[in-house]
Amino acid sequence: MSVRDQHGERREAVEDFGEPRDPQTTSEAVLELEAVTKNFGSECAVDGLSLSVREGELLTLLGPSGCGKTTTLRLIAGLERPDGGAIQVGGERVAAAEERAFVPPERRDVGVVFQDFALFPHMTAAENVAFGIEDWDADARETRVAELLEMVGLEAHAESTPDELSGGQKQRIALARSLAPEPEILLLDEPFSNLDVDLRVEMREEVRRILKETGVTGISVTHDQEEAMSISDRVAVMAEGKIEQAGTPEGVFQHPESRFVAGFLGHASFVSGYVSGDLVETPLGPIGRDRIHGLAAEYDRTEIDVLVRPDDLLVRPAEEGAADGRVTYRRYLGPTVLYRVELASGDVIEAMHNHADRLSLDTPATVELAAAHDLAWFPAQR
């Protein structure tokens, strides 16, 4: 049974979270993808994908490598032609497969920050920034370049060539360059993947600040869920060329609509439960029905799986008779320790603890649900 079948099954029951997708509310959409499809040979990279992005929003396409997220970005930029569907930028149709209509990248109001920055190696930083506004008059161009260099904090490096710049500086210049022609939409392709870990966190904040300052609509692509959660207004999780789920970072994280999304956004364990009146019976003890998010009436008296995250659980050593299960694995992560516990019911859960706690392998343990928030659920897998 595939993940999406369940997902579809549940759609009827749950429709109140995430961003509204009603066409009426997307009138201010600056970007609209309608059933866009792209094939490479016999492989389908993007499969009937629909998406709309509102002005000033920062949306991240998040997914494992090969899910089609970069191809989606390239389709928006005009670097690829769609095989099906249509794309609108700022209300103007820039690609429509049926009419064979296609606006080349240079005539779309779209800027791109490339993964490897793609700075022109034969030009200085300032010349790179000025590249897209060559047709402006000289004064305006100079002012604009100075303004952008100041915004990214590299006034002092205007005359440096790309090979004299550090990774973070290259990224800033690439950002300034793409913003120079005042694009309607800015696309960022894995913008932080070429940076060191420390710099990555710093640049995330920086890029978000700059995008918000300029008010440009941003669409970024990443496979790093932490990065997506931390910079985006909205996250769209992709798998196999389709959008699995889109919504606010909190909404998507707390209320994943599919097991794939639940698993991709962080450690996910499932405990089986039986819905019985106002309670759900689980190996961790009964959970109040009101704590299970949007559990519809028709699931009464059925098996469900409840999603628990490692920080929702407390594992404690216990006497053999009173234990819920045994510790089968522990991984020391520095500040925290990850424990895996095999429950007597056969479910396997993972729990994250403070590094001061100590539990040895193979000790009997009790597992306690310590979450204050609603829990997500899925119909049981048969």
Binding site: F40, G41, E43, A45, P64, S65, G66, C67, G68, T70, T71, R74, A77, G78, L79, E80, R81, F102, P104, P105, E106, R107, R108, V110, G111, V112, F114, Q115, D116, F117, A118, L119, F120, P121, H122, F131, G132, E134, R177, S178, A180, P181, E240
Partner: protein, 539 residues
């Protein structure tokens, strides 16, 4: 699911590398059309040659091809090629081992000494040796008969080997340097003797390098015109020219076709050996071979090769300059005009070659289709076809179809140079095209620059170094080109190589000295450019 996504990811990447930017269909078509025109022009001389050979009555052609003369020429050419290749390997490989794997003192100096003979065009070496040690040469005249004479087929083998073994030396050396020499140590610890380790470990790894060098040496040997001509050796190249000079053009055409066929066989054999770069690529230096008492003889051997290839010709040329023996021949007296003519022709050839190379190299560097590969390969015809054959083909074109061009202006000769040396320009331009990051071009497109604008502002500046390097190579190799210049030289336009040829014919060697010096300098510059291009670490 995993393998599928991995594959998908790879294909995505591949597509992006090959730049399927929407909207460039029209410019791609224009580029393909331009490449096709260039490829057609470059291959066309072969059609002329075929057509001319086709006019020979079949029975006559058959008689000529099976004649004992043809058999002799074929045997001589094959013997020359085989002997030069073998001798080059016998000299080049030990020298490469000596300079990379032993404790030979001053390894850099000896590497340069061993590579330096490439600086001298072999026909200039030939003229020096023949004048001194040939029959009728100075030593012959002074002492009657002498030490083994350097002339004929043996002389050609001797001289060509001296000036082509560096190809094998350099490619073998590169292979040795890229090989992880700790493998040899590993073999030694597995109880293989030094010689056994070389045979079972080192040799298999450097074989592709040796093969690459041997191919270059073989191609050079079978295509070389000047050396066999000066040595009066009866091989294809020299005979084709002599038959052409004797107005026996039909026989010349048949021989030319046969020569092209033999070159094709050599290339096929080489493709069979393959150049798979399976070198282990380690940086480990491993233990050096301790030469011990053999240190001095080794140094002596390298030095004596250097003396033979460099010092002897230079001393001979200098002595001609100083002594000025023989009757003065005013028409051969050095004039700056000779050099200017050479430079003028070479500049034109370099310019046209770059112009031709741009569309072909750009198209094949950016598009990976059967068509782009075929068109690129077609421009490599000059790499395989000896100059004397291209010259002959264009003589047919000139005399039959375009008499207004034949020996009348520079264009037929310039075209011949371009056909012969275009591969050098295509090679350097193409590698600079391949170095361009596709993302940079896409970045320009998203920054509102159209395809032409992108080419002008981004691509062209980035590939300019490659274009210039290609032009310089064509310029320098054109300067010293001999057979095509002889056959297509515009009337009254004497160049440096023409003067050398005429001086040798008149046995007035002293007039060849100064042009020869100039050409040696030019060749030296070629080597600097070439080595920099190929990235050989010579020091």
């Amino acid at each position: 699911m995993k393998p599928v996504t991995t594959y998908l990811d790879a294909s995505e990447r591949f597509e992006s590398v090959r730049g399927r930017i929407g909207g460039t269909d029209r410019s791609a078509f224009a580029l393909a059309a331009l490449s096709a025109v260039v490829a057609f022009l470059v291959v066309s001389p072969m059609f002329w040659l075929l057509w001319r050979a086709g006019t020979v009555p079949p029975t006559e052609a058959y008689d000529l091809l099976v004649s004992s003369r043809t058999a002799l020429i074929t045997a001589n050419s094959l013997a020359l090629t085989a002997a030069v290749t073998l001798c080059s390997i016998l000299i080049g490989v030990p020298l490469a081992v000596l300079t990379t794997r032993t404790d030979l003192p001053y390894p850099r100096l000896f590497t340069v000494v061993a590579a330096l003979p490439l600086v001298i065009p072999s026909y200039i070496g030939a003229i020096a040796f023949v004048s001194m040690f040939g029959s009728g040469g100075e030593i012959d005249t002074l002492f009657g008969t002498t030490i083994p004479r350097v002339d004929g087929l043996r002389g050609a083998v001797f001289v060509i080997t001296l000036y082509t073994y560096p190809y094998v030396f350099l490619t073998t050396r590169a292979a040795l340097l890229s090989m992880d020499s700790s493998l040899v140590d590993a073999a030694r610890t597995l109880d293989a003797s030094r010689i056994e380790a070389f045979r079972r470990v080192t040799l298999p790894q450097i074989r592709p390098g040796i093969a690459a060098g041997a191919l270059l040496a073989a191609l050079y040997a079978i295509s070389d015109f000047g050396t066999p001509a000066f040595m009066r050796a009866t091989v294809f190249t020299s005979t084709i020219y002599w038959e052409f000079g004797g107005f026996n053009v039909e026989y010349a055409a048949l021989l030319a076709l046969q020569l092209v066929a033999i070159v094709a066989v050599i290339l096929v054999i080489e493709a069979g050996i393959g150049r798979d770069e399976d070198a282990s690529g380690g940086t480990g230096r491993g233990a050096e071979i301790n030469l011990g008492h053999w240190k001095w003889p080794s140094m002596g051997a390298v030095l004596s090769i250097g003396v033979l290839t460099l010092v002897v010709p230079l001393v001979i040329f200098t002595s001609w300059l100083i002594r000025s023996v023989g009757d003065p021949i005013p028409s051969l007296e050095f004039q700056p005009g000779f050099a200017l003519n050479s430079v003028y022709l070479a500049l034109l050839a370099a310019f046209v070659a770059c112009l031709f190379a741009l569309p072909v190299a750009y198209y094949s560097g950016r598009t990976n289709s059967l068509l782009s590969r075929v068109l690129e390969r077609a421009t490599y015809v000059g790499f395989a076809v000896p100059g004397v054959v291209i010259g002959l083909a264009l003589v047919f074109l000139g005399t039959r179809t375009l008499p207004s061009l034949y020996r009348q202006g520079v264009w037929l000769l310039v075209f011949a140079y371009v056909v012969r040396f275009l591969p050098q320009a295509v090679g350097t331009v193409r590698s600079s095209v391949l170095q361009i990051d596709e993302g940079v071009i896409e970045a320009a497109r998203t920054l509102d620059a159209g395809p032409l604008d992108t080419f002008r502002r981004v691509t062209l500046p980035l590939i300019m170094p490659g274009v210039i390097a290609g032009g310089v190579l064509v310029f320098l190799t054109t300067m010293k080109e001999l057979p095509m210049t002889l056959m297509l030289q515009p009337i009254g336009m004497d160049t440096l190589v023409i003067v050398i040829w005429n001086a040798q014919n008149a046995l007035a060697y002293r007039y060849a000295a100064l042009p020869a010096f100039i050409l040696i300098v030019v060749s030296g510059l070629t080597m600097v450019v070439l080595l920099r291009q190929e990235g050989y670490d010579i020091t």
